[in-house]
């Protein structure tokens, strides 16, 4: 049985000088909080702000032709991956499916969504299939039963938990056949649910689309309330005053799972835990997600006590400010994985069925490890974690100025800042130490 970090590859990044990174990172976040309390005294991130994208460019970006091109490519790629998963060579060394799922798609969704916006919503093959099925069966794409509002991001949080467990814990997770069967099963379940609840199911019910939509809130290109495409400050999309059910859970799953993957790479874990143990992995993953959740909720509770606000409202309201942290962890942890192991998808796509083809001229090539050397990787890691927390601190601060009594914001923010510094240090420790 193969027991590999991130489910694939067998290579991980070098550990960093943990003490220097942890002290520096924690100090940077603490300093930025202090700077904010002095220099940022009124809300600056305006949700309705932003500079409209020139009309001609906006029209081109919104054109149905582009949507259909994207949908065609995404559907074809998905079908191709499933066919190769089931009919291609056995084992992840020769079959591109596990690489396509765990690296190209799962990790690639992050830069795509943060840079380009909610791209998966636009090209999601499940939406395309749903449209097609509704047309063939003459069913109403809006479904029969509306989705209950209080469900929110809970289905997405559940799917994401399932996926990270598959990626990080499940035995035989790199087996192409298993990957193929799971993609089909995931599609079938979500299509059935969309049949009942309508196409809006995908927005928050499809874990991957929900993930992409959440990341897209940090995109510098976004939509104003009236639908206008605007260029905006990247954190603007996080400024929503009302909480959404399940968003805390989704964010904590993302942060906790990345942290857990980092912890399993430490020599401490390797020396004390059987890496193939299903129960140790499952418990460890659950514990990591639990610790992040408890830390966040505790910080919010103390904050509510200090500002005199209702304790029940705060966690939901500030949940979106966890997203930059999740993004920072993901970039730190998966950057080299994406750049290095991500090459495998394209190397193997050159001869997808192991028949001796050389479609892309890369059959038999090996991963070029020099594309992300140790220095670059280390710099990206430390910067991603620290900047992610600073961005989260800024977003939380701005949101607090918007919603909390003016004379109490600093006091109310202190617990959040403490949590941020703690998470920074823990993140640097878990992700980067040897």
């Amino acid at each position: 049985m193969e027991v590999l970090a991130h489910g694939l590859g067998g290579r991980t990044d070098l550990p960093l000088d943990a003490v220097a990174a942890i002290v520096g990172g924690g100090a940077a976040v603490a300093a930025s909080f202090l700077a904010l309390t002095v220099a940022w005294r009124r809300p600056r991130l305006r949700p309705e702000g932003g500079r409209p994208v020139p009309a001609r460019i906006a029209r081109a970006l919104d054109s149905p032709a582009l949507t259909w091109a994207g949908r065609t490519v995404a559907l074809a790629a998905a079908v191709f991956v499933v066919v190769v998963a089931l009919a291609g060579p056995g084992g992840e060394k020769a079959n591109l499916a596990p690489w396509a799922l765990y690296v190209t798609f799962w990790v690639g969704l992050v830069p795509a969504s943060v840079l380009l916006g909610p791209v998966w919503r636009r090209v999601n093959p499940l939406r395309t299939l749903h449209d097609g099925l509704c047309r063939i069966t003459r069913a109403d794409p809006a479904g029969r039963w509306p989705i209950p509002k209080r469900l929110g991001y809970w289905p997405a949080a559940a799917w994401l938990t399932g996926f990270v467990w598959l990626e990080l814990v499940a035995p035989h997770r790199s087996d192409p056949r298993l990957v193929g069967v799971l993609i089909i099963a995931y599609g079938a379940v979500n299509l059935a649910l969309a049949r009942v609840c309508g196409r809006d199911w995908f927005t928050r019910g499809d874990g991957f689309e929900a993930y992409s939509n959440l990341l897209a809130r940090m995109c510098p290109v976004g939509r104003r309330g009236d639908g206008t495409l605007v260029l905006r400050t990247p954190l603007t999309g996080l400024m929503r005053v009302t909480g959404e059910p399940g968003l805390v859970a989704a964010a904590c799953v993302l942060i906790g799972s990345t942290g857990f993957d980092g912890i399993t790479r430490t020599t401490y874990w390797r020396d004390n835990v059987d890496p193939g143990s299903l129960s140790a992995g499952t418990l460890g993953l659950a514990a990591a997600i639990g610790v992040v959740t408890v830390l966040y909720l505790a910080g919010m509770r103390v904050s509510a006590a200090l500002t005199g606000e209702a304790a029940g409202e705060l966690p939901g309201r500030f949940a979106a400010t966890l997203l930059p942290i999740a993004l920072g962890y993901t970039v730190a942890h998966y950057f080299s994985f994406f750049v290095l192991e991500g090459q495998m998808t394209f190397i193997l796509a050159s001869d997808p069925f192991g028949t001796g083809l050389n479609l892309l001229g890369s059959t038999g090539h090996r991963i070029d490890y020099d594309l992300a050397g140790p220095t670059l990787t280390a710099q990206v890691q430390v910067n991603a974690i620290v900047l992610g927390h600073i961005a989260a601190t800024i977003a939380a601060h701005d949101l607090a100025l918007r919603t909390q009594p003016a004379h109490r914001t600093v006091r109310g923010q202190l617990p959040i800042a403490v949590v941020m510094v703690a998470l920074t240090c823990a993140g640097l420790f878990a992700l980067l130490s040897g």
């Binding site: 510098p220 394209f346 190397i347």
Partner: protein, 153 residues
């Protein structure tokens, strides 16, 4: 704020570019060698004759790693000294790995993708030129035991 934003954007763009560049990896080494730099010798003990222009990776910097696996328990020594779990070497070092198991198995060093067939009780040796940085897992394919991790920095 502006600086933060700019750096984040620059970083994100860099990732996108790197991914585009990642393209299709590097061509395989021509003659069955796995190391790309051509410095990796084959399975077994015989070393190929030293080439004339192989550069710094031919320094006599050899790390000897010996691993014994019996009844699922792993013992490792690096240059004769007991090592715990992780073997640390410098990039460019030659690592001579000797593995002895009590059952027939296959040793596999990930990333470098080197394998070694093992018969019960008979030491097998593998020479690897550590030319890629990172932490790489070494395991036994059949029993699934993790033998050690090779950390190249």
């Amino acid at each position: 704020m502006r600086g933060v934003r700019l750096r984040t954007v620059v970083m994100a763009v860099a990732i996108g570019v790197a991914v585009t560049l990642a393209g299709c990896g590097e061509p395989a080494a021509p003659s069955g060698g796995t190391g790309g730099s051509g410095g990796t010798s084959g399975t077994g003990t015989a070393k190929s004759a030293p080439a004339t222009f192989t550069g710094p990776s031919r320094k006599p910097d050899v790390t000897v790693v010996s691993a014994t696996v019996s009844r699922g328990k792993v013992e490792i020594a690096q240059n004769g000294v007991n090592a715990q779990g992780r073997v640390k070497v410098r990039r460019g070092a030659t690592v001579r790995i000797t593995v002895t198991t009590d059952e027939a198995d296959e040793f596999h060093l990930h990333g470098y993708d080197r394998t070694l067939k093992l018969s019960p009780g008979r030491p097998g040796t593998l020479d690897v030129v550590a030319d890629k940085t990172g932490v790489f897992e070494a395991e036994l394919h059949h029993s699934g035991a993790r033998v050690f991790e090779l950390q190249v920095s």
